[in-house]
């Protein structure tokens, strides 16, 4: 395909998709695999639009050709008189030949893109083990050069720009699908098998990742912010995420930690304390995460209180039970959680 035609294709699809600047549009992708998929998508969109326009024109032309004719059976003899009927087959042959050409080009483009998207340009050093839960994401970062520098986080993913990352996908319960729209396409998260994909961010920015496969009540609320940043910023972030929680200074927060360990620690972990639960998300750096409940609420003090008191009322079916803490304990726990930066 010539560059000129490619440009035409891109322009055509840009017209069709004017206004596609939302944070999960993948036709203006920023990831490596995502970008080759986007180019394929733009070509396909352009061809599709052209075909639809041509066929609609063909229908209109067919009607236009016969304008003014009185063809209804009641209107006279036109249909009943004996006449030569042309076979018309050549229209089918010409149409099929044109279709074949378009399909062959599409197939070729698909294969080239498939090949490009299947393998990373070099062996990824950084690995993320992602586990899908009903309805949140658990992420375990590992650096093969520094095996002891791994850490666990939840419902957030940071990617260094220009560095391929291997992602291994597991499920704790049902089938999910891991989707970072602007970075790469979906790969399903299936219990009983470990799927792998690789991603490489190309431009800085925050986008919205989501679960792609219907996984039950809160499939809609299983999202995570995807932050692509320079390797330097990424290193800072990982260093901060590796750090264990610092014991709080303030008395209220300190009291909150005791309540937390006793009640919340059954399910949640805070590294560096005796809260070691593995059932719910790791909360070691909870306060620096932008949202609560895999995207259902912004992470504010008021939202956090409501969430702790009765999470299922906010997120129907959430596995976190309502926690009827007395007001003093609740304030203390919230104060403690807000120190976990």
């Amino acid at each position: 395909m010539s560059t000129r035609r490619a440009r035409v294709a891109v322009v055509a699809s840009a017209i069709v998709l004017a206004g596609c600047n939302g944070t999960s549009s993948y036709l203006d992708a920023t990831g490596n695999a995502g970008r080759s998929e986007a180019i394929l998508g733009q070509w396909l969109t352009a061809v599709a639009c052209a075909v639809v326009v041509l066929v609609c024109l063909a229908i209109v032309w067919g009607i236009w050709r016969h304008r003014g004719e009185q063809n209804a059976p009641s209107s006279g003899k036109s249909g009943t008189e004996r006449r030569e009927i042309r076979s018309g087959l050549r229209w089918i042959y010409v149409g099929i030949a044109a279709t074949l050409v378009v399909l062959l080009v599409t197939f070729g483009g698909t294969m080239v893109t498939l090949n490009a998207a299947s393998h990373p340009p070099r062996v990824p050093r950084l690995e993320i083990d992602v586990t899908g839960h009903q309805w949140w994401w658990e992420l375990r970062y590992q650096d093969r050069a520094h095996p002891d520098e791994g850490f666990v986080t939840a419902n957030e993913i940071h990617l260094p720009i220009g560095i391929p990352v291997r992602v291994r996908l597991r499920s704790a319960d049902v089938i999910h699908s891991f989707w970072l729209p602007q970075i790469a396409g979906k790969t399903d998260v299936i219990p009983g098998q470990i799927n792998e994909m690789w991603v490489e961010a190309k431009q800085p920015g925050t986008t919205r990742g989501a679960c792609g496969e219907y996984c039950g009540l809160q499939h809609a609320m299983m999202t995570l912010p995807v932050v692509a940043e320079s390797p330097e910023h990424f290193a800072q972030w990982t260093a901060q995420r590796r750090a264990e929680a610092v014991a709080p200074m303030a008395a209220e927060a300190h009291a909150g930690q005791i309540v937390f360990s006793r009640t919340c620690g059954v399910c949640h972990a805070v590294q560096g304390t005796n809260a070691l639960g593995r059932v719910g998300p790791d909360l070691t750096h909870f306060a620096s995460r932008p949202s609560i409940g895999a995207g259902i609420l912004r992470n504010t003090r008021a939202n956090l209180m409501g969430w702790i008191v009765n999470a299922p009322a906010i997120k129907e079916g959430a596995r976190m039970p309502a926690m009827p803490l007395d007001p003093a304990d609740l304030n203390a726990v919230v104060a403690y959680l807000q120190t976990l930066r």
């Binding site: 009943t80 599409t106 319960d173 009540l217």
Partner: protein
């Protein structure tokens, strides 16, 4: 052409023979294909409306971001029921409705090959729909989507009755669809008018035939998957349980092996409606008839090789992705043939545009949009992005609304005068078309864009600020416009039924045989069985399609009871006179019995299920027991020479039906064995841990082969007229079959594992268990034949049941050989 003038005594005699008794009780017994066809149409359109209301509720929720009018749970039940209702209870049955009504009229027969089976097909469909919707008052509607992926649909994550309703509904519906399909296939090959050769069939007949053959092979995949699901949920097996050797992807493979052919099953007959009706309004024959017929068959064949494109994101190796992506792109070509054929017909014709034609032209536009977005999703890497987004929702609705609903509405406008004798209102029809066409594009086109903007499917709400709000608002408005269009359609039907303009036999000047009958047609369809000379029997005066002419006004009348011709499969030469059954309650009773089994299983009331099973067997035997009045041996002399009456052998419809049953059952076992080997290939542990000892099963294999030999010997005997040999052969066969079952029980008692131990145990016992059940059913059939043999029901000329049961018994043996090889031999080949 006017309907041929027919003598009054003949009409009165036929009327007496064929008319259904009046009143409610008569209607419960009716086996008239026209009655059944209308019932199918009305029922499926009621389900279309119910599914549409579910869609409107969902669209109302999604109209603005952050809306919580429906809870997450309710929303998820709504989209699941919308899918199940539309796909299973509307899209396929509505096409069965057309085909049921139209086929015998187009083919020149007096009814379908199996009128009672036809009634059974409808009643079981109705039972399955009622069964599914009892989940509504119980608040336990299916909630895992129409695709019903495990493990979300397994008991651990979905403990209510929701998914049990789903599994049992698809199993009941499988009965309906399978018997319906076998009926269509047999009708096509056996009961056409003399001269209606294969190259003269209307395209809708090709479409329904292709869909029916596809059903016979595809549906057992869903049945097998649903049975495994139900066993997993209720009886502790592990087919889909990864913690015990099962695998959730087994469901997906089986489901889409069924699901993708099903897409073609619900569009090919609808495309056939257009290929037949569009030429009428273009006043010329369809361009490229042969190519379109071939394209129809080709589509279905390729359609069996593309199921993996629903699973591109499940972690499949690139080579398989390339293959299935390629196949999914290639399947466009036969569809393109049809599109160019319609366009060429329009260009070269003399078109006029009543409402039916408007719907068909709108259909072409929607079809192309749905087609090209399909090609886009076939491009694997692009699919990784668009799959499970609203882009796919847009695609599938352009396909299903475009290629199913629009032709269906067009078909109703086209054949309504045949159904009722009155034309539908054209002015209302024009409004109907434009509201539906604009509505469909308003609701579905923005879904492409919002999908490309990253909106996932199956979300009950979404936040604002992602650029989705405006498109969703437009879609909701579009949905209500579309619903208004459907309402106009319903109003038009109701008004025109009473007050429409009287149509006469052929208001559109159509070319095909159904337009030669009065509107509405009499119960016997044709007073005089037509003899067909060309593809367009009513246009022969104006086309140059060879010199032969159809004969519609004189010829055979067959007035000695409910009779029609059985013809040869390819050239449709009369081979025998078929005796058709009388009206009967038995199909209704059988369908109710099946419903009782389902409710028994649903509520774990095994006594109720057992009661239903006994009732089913009683109904089946009543059904098959010959009615003394219709047993009339002999030879009748006709215009086509002396023809046997009710002859057996390959001339009998029973033979064709048995071949259909065996084909679908063989497919069922093939899918079960696929499951066995798939789980073996995915297992990280040795499969099985310990290979089963083959000696007792080997002995059992020999016993079963000997029983087959005995039955074959007995069947051969009756061919030669030796009734004693028949009795001895079948008695020995029964004895050996019983011995097989006893030894199978011994084998089970010696097994160390159980069905609930692991996935291997589940597969082992399910496969051998289903085979054992087939042996049991075969034994019942052999016993019935043996009893009838002692009553001297059979002779060399009249031995249809003997032969068919023998064929079934040999089939059961052949299945055992496959089961034995798979379960007892292959573990030693590692």
């Amino acid at each position: 052409m006017a309907a041929p003038a027919i003598e009054r005594p003949l009409v009165e005699r036929l009327e007496k023979i064929w008319a259904t008794p009046p009143g409610f009780r008569g209607s419960l017994q009716s086996v008239d294909h026209k009655t059944i066809g209308i019932r199918y149409l009305v029922t499926s359109i009621v389900f279309l409306v119910i599914g549409g209301i579910e869609a409107l509720l969902m669209r109302s929720q999604l109209m603005v971001s952050g809306e919580h009018m429906l809870s997450a749970d309710t929303y998820n039940q709504m989209f699941s029921m919308h899918g199940v209702t539309m796909i299973f209870l509307y899209a396929a049955p509505v096409l069965s409705g057309f085909s049921n009504y139209i086929w015998p009229l187009m083919l020149g027969a007096r009814d379908m090959a199996y009128p009672r089976l036809n009634a059974l097909s409808y009643w079981t469909y109705l039972v399955s729909g009622i069964f599914l919707y009892t989940s509504l008052p119980l608040g336990a509607m299916p909630n895992a989507g129409w695709f019903d992926y495990v493990p979300y649909a397994s008991r651990a994550y979905n403990p209510g009755l929701n998914i049990d309703f789903y599994a049992l509904t698809v199993l009941i519906l499988a009965v309906s669809t399978t018997v319906g399909s076998i009926n269509f296939i047999t009708t096509l090959f056996k009961t056409r008018a003399p001269g209606m050769s294969l190259n003269r069939l209307p395209i809708i007949v090709w479409g329904t035939l292709t869909a029916s053959v596809a059903n016979v092979f595809a549906l057992p995949a869903l049945s097998a998957a649903a049975i495994m699901l139900f066993l997993d949920r209720r009886y502790g097996t592990h087919f889909y349980d990864p913690s015990a050797g099962g695998h959730p992807l087994l469901w997906q493979h089986l489901f889409w092996m069924f699901g993708h052919p099903w897409v073609y099953i619900v569009v090919l007959p609808a495309m056939g409606i257009v290929s037949d009706a569009l030429p009428t309004f273009c006043r010329r024959p369809l361009v490229g008839y042969t190519l379109v017929a071939l394209a129809t068959v080709t589509t279905a064949m390729i359609g069996f090789g593309v199921w993996l494109h629903h699973m591109f994101a499940t972690g499949i190796p690139p080579l398989a992705l390339a293959f299935f992506g390629g196949a999914s792109i290639i399947i466009t070509i036969p569809s393109a043939v049809a599109v160019f054929s319609w366009l060429a017909t329009l260009w070269d014709g003399r078109p006029w545009y009543p409402a039916a034609m408007k719907f068909m032209l709108g259909f072409i536009a929607l079809f192309v949009i749905g087609g090209v977005s399909g090609v886009m999703t076939a491009a694997v890497p692009f699919d990784w992005q668009v799959t499970d987004t609203y882009f796919v929702v847009a695609h599938l609705h352009y396909v299903l609304v475009g290629i199913n609903v629009f032709p269906v509405i067009a078909g109703v406008y086209y054949w309504f005068p045949k159904f009722t004798g009155r034309l539908m209102n054209e002015r209302l029809g024009t409004w109907n078309f434009w509201t539906m066409f604009i509505g469909a594009n308003l609701v579905f086109f923005p879904m492409h864009i919002v999908g490309l903007l990253g909106m996932p499917r199956r979300i009950y709400t979404y936040p604002s600020g992602l650029g989705w709000d405006t498109y969703n608002a437009i879609e909701t408005v579009g949905a209500f416009v579309f619903a208004l269009g459907v309402l106009l359609f319903a109003i038009n039907v109701l008004i025109s039924r009473r007050r429409g303009e009287v149509a006469g036999p052929n208001p559109w000047d159509g070319p095909t045989l159904e337009w030669s009958t009065p509107s509405p047609p009499p119960p016997y369809n044709f007073a005089i069985i037509p003899v067909i000379g060309s593809r367009h029997p009513l246009w022969e005066d104006r086309l140059d399609e060879g010199s032969s002419r159809s004969i519609l006004t004189r010829g055979p009348t067959l007035v000695d009871g409910r009779e029609t011709f059985a013809t040869t499969p390819l050239d449709a030469e009369p081979a025998a006179i078929m005796q058709m059954p009388e009206d009967t309650y038995v199909p209704l009773a059988l369908a109710i019995s099946i419903g009782i089994i389902a409710y028994g299983l649903l509520f774990s009331q095994l006594w109720l299920a057992a009661l239903g099973a006994v009732a089913t067997v009683v109904c089946a035997i009543t059904w098959l027991w010959p009615n003394a009045e219709t047993v009339r041996d002999g030879v009748a002399s006709t215009e086509f020479g002396d023809l046997p009456v009710g002859r057996s052998g390959t001339h009998s419809v029973g033979y064709w039906g048995m071949v259909g049953v065996i084909t679908t059952e063989a497919s069922f076992f093939a899918y079960l064995l696929f499951g066995y080997f798939y789980l073996a290939s995915q297992s990280s542990n040795p499969w099985p841990t310990e290979a089963p000892r083959p000696w007792l099963p080997l002995a059992n294999t020999i016993i079963l082969i000997l029983s087959s030999v005995a039955v074959a010997w007995g069947e051969r005997g009756i061919r030669l007229g030796r009734r004693t040999r028949l009795r001895i052969g079948y008695a020995v066969g029964i004895a050996l079959g019983v011995l097989f079952l006893i030894l199978q029980g011994v084998e089970y008692s010696r097994e160390k594992i159980s069905p609930t131990h692991d996935a291997y145990g589940s597969a082992f016992f399910t496969i051998t268990g289903f085979h054992g059940a087939h042996v049991f059913v075969g034994l019942i059939m052999l016993c019935v034949v043996l009893v009838r043999a002692f009553k001297n029901h059979f002779s060399a000329d009249r031995r249809e049941a003997v032969t068919n049961v023998a064929i079934y018994w040999h089939f059961v043996d052949a299945v055992w050989l496959a089961v034995f090889t798979s379960l007892y031999i292959t573990p030693y080949l590692r």
